[in-house]
Symmetry: C2
Subunit: 204 residues, 2 copies
C-alpha cells in the first residue's frame, strides 16, 4: 500500500530525527523525544513503526549500508594491510561519533531477513579483507573474526563513558589494536585522549 504524501514526508522526518538523536544520546532515547524532534505526535511515530525495534531495524539498515560501503572501499585498496587498517580506523571513528553504529553491526534481528542478509554480506566482505591481509603477511594469523566485535564493543564502552573525547579515545584504541595485530614494526600511536571521570555528587 502506498503512503500518502504527507505520511511519507513525516516518515522521513522521523527517521532523520531518530538517527540524529541516537547518534548523539545513545540507543535508549525516549520515543517521545524522537517524535518531538521530528515535529510529529507520538501516535504518528507508532503508526509508522509499531514497535521501538521496528524503528531500530530501519535505522540500522542505513548504518549497515555505510559499513558495507566501507568494506567495499577497503577491498579496492591494492595494499591489503592499508585497506584493513583504514577500515578499522574508520569504523572506530564512526562508532565514536554515532552511538548507534556498533549496535547495527552487533545485533541480530530475528525476523528481519533482508537486514540479516545484508549484515552477512558485510561480514563476508570483512572476512575477505582479513584473508588478504593475512595472506600478505601483514595481519597476524591470530586475528579472529570475533576480534572485530571485540573492537566495536570496546569502542562502545569508551564512547558511552565520555562523549566529548570519544573520537580521540577511539582513535587511540584503534591504533593500539592495529599495532597489536600488525606483523611489522610498531606504528606510531594516535595521541592519548584525556578521558574525563564520571562525576557523582554525594550530598551530606
Amino acid at each position: 500500500m502506498e503512503l500518502r504524501a504527507d505520511a511519507r514526508h513525516n516518515r522521513e522526518r522521523i527517521i532523520k530525527a531518530a538517527g540524529e538523536l541516537i547518534a548523539a544520546r545513545g540507543l535508549d532515547v525516549p520515543m517521545a523525544a524522537i517524535a518531538r524532534r521530528a515535529g510529529v505526535g507520538v501516535a504518528t511515530l507508532y503508526r509508522r513503526f509499531p514497535t521501538r525495534e521496528a524503528l531500530m531495524v530501519e535505522l540500522f539498515h542505513d548504518r549497515l549500508a555505510v559499513c558495507l560501503a566501507g568494506v567495499d572501499a577497503a577491498l579496492e585498496d591494492p595494499d591489503p594491510w592499508r585497506g584493513f587498517r583504514t577500515y578499522i580506523e574508520n569504523l572506530c571513528a564512526m562508532n565514536a561519533v554515532d552511538r548507534g553504529l556498533a549496535a547495527a553491526f552487533l545485533t541480530e534481528f530475528r525476523g528481519a531477513v533482508d537486514f540479516e542478509r545484508e549484515r552477512a554480506r558485510a561480514e563476508q566482505g570483512f572476512a575477505e579483507l582479513v584473508r588478504r591481509a593475512k595472506a600478505a603477511g601483514q595481519l597476524r594469523a591470530e586475528f579472529d573474526r570475533s576480534d572485530l566485535s571485540l573492537i566495536l564493543m570496546a569502542t562502545d564502552g569508551i564512547t558511552a563513558a565520555s562523549a566529548e573525547t570519544a573520537v580521540a579515545a577511539a582513535r587511540r584504541l584503534a591504533g593500539l589494536m592495529l599495532r597489536s595485530f600488525h606483523t611489522g614494526p610498531a606504528a606510531p600511536l594516535p595521541p592519548p585522549a584525556p578521558l574525563a571521570l564520571y562525576h557523582l555528587s554525594v550530598p551530606d
Copy 2:
C-alpha cells in the same frame, strides 16, 4: 552515633546484597531489588543510605581497596614489567566479573573526601608502577596515564555487551593492549572470545 545491633546487621546485609547485584547486573539495579535481596524494606535501605550515590560510595570503597591492594602487590614484584602486566590483567579480569569495579576507579565523588584520597593513592601507586616499567625499558614511553581509563572503559563495553564470555574477552583485550604497549617481542595472545550478538526480535 552508634547503630543498634539489628541496624548494623541490616546495614551489612544491604551492602552485601548491593555488591552482588551490581556485580552481576550492572550499576543500575533498582533500589527495591537490593532491598528485597537484603531481606529488608526499601525504607530501611534509604534510612541507611539517604541517596543512591551514598550507597555507591560505600560499595566503591571496597572495590577501590581491592585495586589498591593489587597495586601494592604489583609494586612488590621485582620484575617491573611482570608487575605491570599482571596488574592490568587482574584489573581487567576483575572488571569482567564485577560490573561495578571500573566505575569505582572511574567516578569522582564530589564531597566524599576520604574516598577521593584513597583513589588518589591508587593512582599514585599505579603511576609508580608505570614509571618503573618504563625505566626498565619494557613499557613504551607512549603509555599515558589516561590509557588505564581507556582500558577500563573498553573492558566495560565488552562486559556490558556479553556477560557470559566477558572474562575471556576481557583477557584477550588485556593481552592486546599489553602487547601494544610492550617493547619486547610480541607475547602470545589469550584465545579469542566467541562474542555473542545482541538479540532483538522484531514482530511483524
